[in-house]
């Protein structure tokens, strides 16, 4: 078996038993990268040298008989929106094309401390704004299942790296579905934890109240393992929650007796491709077999989630992205007359159209005379959505829906129609507004493209969420891989 095909838990056993070395494992992944990267283009930066240095360290540890953690020696990719000291971090933007951070994000640090092998930084929609990775200022990433199609986004490169075997797992960030939607479109597992569970320190902010880091993995067990090391209170992030760290792998069980699963009507109707809906409905049958109770429910305010999101997220973004001004770091347009010229031209050249659209949208929504109608109202709608979820969770343990209303679409298909692109996130966005955890697990194929099942948990209900996802995965028994 080719080593790059291993999961984290499979590889860990082989590393501990010295059946394989971290070096061999890393070599396998990099030779896979050599083979498929030209087609898929997952990476913006490869960190081969660093990776082999890390592998050597892990191998020395194993050789000396030291105990290693489950992530030690596991090749992993990091979305290029998380800072890693000394490694170029672009956020997919021209404005940060040559930016080299002087510090490492807490999430990446947590994993690096566990001994992961960093393969590189992955491609993404510029500043995580997009649902197709076409908004990368460098190049689009292609879906390993069909190279003419998008991998989803914004964490497209992190999804394809795992789906194409160019990394064993990866990190992404999810502001409105940027982990779950590409996971669905690439046929892998992707999770957005509860807001505040994973530190945002060092994650270049898109929309601060919605952003959350999470893993892409090949299966739910790997997701639980990764989550174990990703989370933890960080004094550097004021929004980081303090909890006793559970061992999420202990929650994995396929017995769902008595578990109540709600299906929000609002996420199953309008705009959902009928074939996708059918695939999800078929998948729900599986839950019945494991003893869960599935019932329809209604969260009426979810109909307003997309509207609220496209005010709140751009508003925060317009402020977060103000710092990219050519003064302290990043691109500066040369030879300008004065400061105003420098600002205006640097930002006009440095940012792509989607980023500009959202900055302008957010600036408009916050500006004098419009604040109450847009931003103020959107924040109130956010309250209504949270209330809807709270009510639903009084009755249900988890809620389910399709992750994405469609399977992977053609490159270029929606690029000139921002609103159509935004609709890709219609099922995932409400979760970010409410700060909830959610996961996408593969639930079959439509026209030879993977479909994702979206499971939404309660605040800090990761254990139940993973249990339901694991049970589904075990009972559904889907195991297709793209032919690359």
């Amino acid at each position: 078996m080719e080593l790059y095909k291993l999961t984290i838990h499979e590889a860990h056993e082989k590393l501990v038993s010295k059946e394989i070395s971290a070096r061999e494992f890393t070599e396998s992944v990099f030779s896979r990268i050599d083979k498929v990267e030209d087609k898929v283009r997952s990476y913006l930066t490869l960190t081969k040298e660093i990776a082999f240095g890390q592998a050597e360290k892990v191998d020395r540890k194993i050789a000396s008989g030291e105990k290693i953690g489950p992530l030690a020696g596991i090749p992993a990719a990091i979305k290029d929106v998380m800072c890693v000291e000394g490694v170029r971090t672009t956020c997919g933007s021209k404005i940060l094309e040559n930016y080299v951070p002087v510090y490492t994000s807490t999430a990446a640090k947590n994993l690096l401390n566990e001994g992961i092998i960093m393969t590189g930084k992955t491609n993404m929609d510029e500043f995580a704004m997009g649902s197709s990775t076409e908004n990368s200022r460098f190049f689009p990433t292609r879906n390993p299942w069909d190279l003419e199609r998008v991998p989803g986004g914004s964490s497209g490169g992190s999804a394809t790296a795992v789906a194409a075997g160019e990394a064993i797992f990866s990190l992404g960030s999810d502001t409105g579905g940027s982990i779950r939607q590409p996971a669905a479109l690439c046929g892998i597992v992707g999770m957005k934890p509860t807001y505040g569970l994973v530190s945002r320190y060092g994650l270049v902010a898109f929309a601060s109240s919605l952003d959350q880091i999470g893993p892409f993995t090949k299966d739910v067990r790997d997701c639980a393992i990764t989550l174990n090391y990703l989370i933890g209170h960080d004094p550097l992030d004021s929004t980081s929650v303090k909890i006793d760290k559970p061992d999420y792998t202990k929650a994995l069980s396929d017995d769902l007796k008595g578990v109540k699963i709600g299906v929000p009507r609002e996420l199953m109707v309008e705009g959902i491709d009928p074939k996708v809906r059918e695939a999800v409905e078929n998948a729900l049958e599986v839950f019945g077999k494991s003893g869960a109770i599935v019932a329809e429910t209604s969260l009426p305010n979810l109909d307003y989630a997309l509207s609220a999101y496209y005010i709140i997220a751009p508003a925060e973004a317009s402020s977060n992205l103000a710092r990219f001004d050519g003064v302290r770091y990043g691109y500066r347009v040369p030879g300008t007359e004065d400061l105003m010229d420098m600002y205006m031209l640097t930002r006009a050249e440095g940012f792509g159209d989607e980023v500009k659209r959202r900055i302008m949208l957010g600036t408009y929504a916050l500006s004098a005379g419009y604040y109450e109608a847009y931003y103020g109202q959107a924040q109130k709608v956010r309250t209504l959505i949270i209330r809807d979820f709270n009510r639903a969770f009084e009755e249900f343990d988890v809620l389910v829906s399709p992750t994405s209303p469609t399977t992977a679409f053609k490159i270029g298909e929606k690029i000139d129609d921002p609103l159509q692109m935004y609709l890709s996130d219609i099922c995932t966005i409400p979760v970010n507004l409410a700060g909830l955890p959610a996961i996408s697990v593969p639930c079959g194929m439509v026209d030879e493209l993977p479909v994702g099942l979206h499971i939404i948990g309660k605040t800090l209900g990761e254990e139940m969420l993973l249990k339901v996802a694991y049970s589904f995965e075990q009972n559904f028994g889907w195991n297709e891989k793209p032919a690359l």
Binding site: M82, Y103, S208, T239, A315, E316, A322
Partner: protein, 481 residues
């Protein structure tokens, strides 16, 4: 027409915390450029703020000290605008939920008292420093500018007054009083020179008796209490003249030029700022319980008003003296230290502090704790007067040297041979000389002209360059005559 001026002050005070508002960089002043920065205060991508507890305590204490209502629920907002001294191009500040609201400062203006309302006190972060290269260091005409972010992120408290101030003098007294209060609290050193206290003034005028507000201008670059008072005086006159000549006042920001003694337009309001305030999603709200506020209240030390009352009560000072002595913490401390080592009348100490010492401090533009004269100087001088070594007149004569050099009065008196002549024999000899030289006057005296006596005393003082003990001269002269 008779006008009255309407003045409101916005006072920014850098808080004296160890670390910055949202990161743990040092707040030290005057270090090499960009040596006190980190990802947070440089606004590097991905960095996040965490609020400094001490700074919040300091603001609440300041609020308590001036009778504010403390908000039990408060929040930080982002104030969005582009400027190169601001690392994130937004300033973390407060908007509709400031830490303190509705306070007041009472002013004792000697012949009347007045209360100045304080609208709010909020907490924000300071900006970096710009150094303009070329154009004589001024922003206008500079070729380019340098940015130093050492100051970026230092906790900054903004105290906004109501437009209750009516004269430039009141403005000065209000600012000085706030400064005294904040220094007593230990929340800031309030140095206008270092920029840890910065005053902006809004001023308009209106016909006396009117309750409507005129169009206001905002004055910047008021780097001392003196410039605050002078700039306001100038600006009020400028506005009066403009109105009298039928011009309209334009809402604008004006720059005070101390050397030219005038204000000039910095910018007009044509491009109204749109700060797009919104709650900072990176910082969570603050909710305080009243017992915590109470515990902060208990930590508040004696404030200038209480001190003033104590000075009146304990030292028997007139209210006027007590008011002036407690106008700054340093002056009050000076006075108290002097009193503690002097057995005589505290009023004598007060007289010297408020008289000669204040005169020389003003001339040199110094604060009392910056001068070479210490309480020991004043007390030693008083003791020399009390034991007859020098006269009050001599004391006044030696004061400038003491002020300039910091030499102790005893030493100066000895060096300059200015001790009082109190030996009876010595004075008797001098009187003999005077009598011999002024036979005609002596004759007049004996004929009953009392005025002649004064002349003879004066001659004795002249011969001794004022060092003769005047009581002895009087006594011996009577005897001899």
């Amino acid at each position: 027409m008779e006008y009255e001026s309407v003045i409101g002050l916005e006072i920014h005070v850098e808080l004296d915390t160890e670390s910055k508002m949202f990161c743990n960089c040092s707040t030290r002043f005057g270090e090499e450029p960009n040596t006190q920065t980190c990802p947070v205060c440089l606004g590097l991508p991905g960095s996040l703020p965490v609020a400094n507890e001490k700074a919040i305590e300091y603001v609440i204490k300041s609020g308590l000290a001036i009778g504010c209502d403390i908000s039990l629920y408060s929040q930080f907002h982002r104030k969005n605008y582009f400027y190169p001294d601001m690392p994130k191009n937004y300033q973390i500040s407060q908007y509709d939920l400031p830490l303190c609201i509705n306070g007041h400062v009472d002013l004792d203006m000697d012949d009347y008292e007045t209360r100045i309302g304080v609208t709010r006190i909020h907490l924000e972060e300071d900006t970096g420093k710009l150094i303009h290269v070329g154009g004589a260091g001024r922003i206008a005409g500079a070729e380019y500018s340098l940015v130093d972010f050492n100051r970026a992120g230092v906790p900054l408290m903004e105290i906004v007054s109501e437009p209750d101030i009516r004269t430039p003098e009141e403005a000065k007294v209000y600012a000085q009083k706030l400064r005294a209060i904040l220094i007593s609290l230990g929340v800031s050193d309030c140095s206008m020179e270092k920029g840890s206290m910065r005053v902006d003034a809004n001023v308009s005028i209106r016909p006396k008796g009117s309750t409507e507000f005129g169009v206001k201008t905002e004055l910047k670059n008021l780097n001392s209490f003196r410039s605050l008072q002078r700039a306001l005086t100038y600006e009020i006159e400028r506005q009066k003249k403009a109105l009298e000549e039928g011009e309209v006042i334009v809402q604008e920001t004006r720059h005070w030029d101390e050397s030219k003694n005038r204000t000039s337009i910095l910018r007009t309001k044509e491009y109204a700022h749109d700060y797009r305030y919104f709650p900072d999603p990176d910082l969570v709200p603050m909710q305080f319980d009243s017992s915590w506020i109470e515990s902060l209240k208990a930590e508040i030390p004696e404030l200038p008003d209480e001190r003033k009352q104590r000075f009146i009560r304990r030292f028997g000072l007139p209210a006027h003296d007590a008011n002036l002595l407690t106008a700054t913490k340093a002056m009050g401390d000076f006075f108290e230290e002097a009193v503690s080592i002097y057995a005589g009348d505290p009023k004598a100490i007060s007289n010297w502090i408020l008289g000669d010492l204040s005169y020389y401090l003003n001339t040199e533009n110094l604060e009392i704790d910056e001068s070479a004269i210490t309480p020991k100087h004043i007390v030693e001088m008083l003791k020399l007067i009390d034991n007859g070594t020098i006269s009050g007149k001599i004391a006044k004569e030696i004061f400038p040297e003491m002020f300039e050099t910091g030499k102790m009065p005893q030493a100066i008196v000895e060096e300059r041979g200015m001790t009082q002549i109190s030996g009876e024999d010595e004075i008797a000899k001098i009187i003999d000389t005077v009598l011999a030289e002024n036979a005609a006057v002596v004759q007049e005296y004996r004929e009953g002209k009392e005025r002649a006596f004064g002349f003879l005393v004066g001659q004795a003082m002249r011969l001794t360059k004022g060092r003769a003990n005047p009581q002895l001269v009087n006594k011996l002269l009577r005897e001899k005559l």
